[in-house]
């Protein structure tokens, strides 16, 4: 499935802010990104698929929007 990935916070120092990638699920997406950017392996990440936070692996539908987010630091 082709999905759109959006990155936030410190992840934008490592990855582009927006890009398209092909992956079947969140696990495969993270494995691909970590393979290309080893520094991601130590990161604590929150994932949202179509604006819903997901805690377990989620299978993608075509054109899903996946947000990769480091711990929040507002205020």
């Amino acid at each position: 499935m082709k999905v759109q990935v959006k990155t936030f916070g410190s992840l934008t120092d490592i990855l582009a802010k927006e890009f398209y990638i092909t992956a079947n699920d969140t696990t495969e997406l993270l494995a691909t990104l970590t393979h290309d950017h080893a520094e991601l392996a130590q990161r604590s990440l929150l994932i949202a698929v179509n604006n819903t936070i997901v805690k377990t692996a989620v299978t993608f539908q075509e054109n899903d929007i996946v947000a990769l987010m480091p711990p929040y630091s507002g205020g």
Partner: protein
Amino acid sequence: MTKQKNDIFFQGPIPATLVAEAISQHHNKPKIGAHSIFLGQIRADQIDGKAVKSIDYTTNRELALLKMAEIREAVFDKYPLACMHVYHSEGEVRVGEICFFVFTSSAHRRAAMDACDELVERIKKEMPIWGKELFEDDTHQWKINK
């Protein structure tokens, strides 16, 4: 009961005049007996001998506004509030400027104070907002909430 429905994000620092206007807009609400206000200000933290000069805030805006709606509903359900207003900066805010404004109003002080406190804590913990601390020498580090 008035609820601020619009976007909570304010481009750049939150001006003191916005706080004053928020207070004056409640003069015609005679059932209100207490307001509680929290203001977050950018602090000149010293990190490895370098001083923070500003924080550049970015957000996952869509998700943040969904989350804010959820927090707002939960806090209105929990406390007998008359009003609630929340503003958070997006973009660069310099040391000494205001980046976060929470304003709650109720008939008696306890509800306004407790709701304000809970809103501040929940927003800092649950809202997809990130602060990039910019130093005088143009380097940066990403803020970590304690």
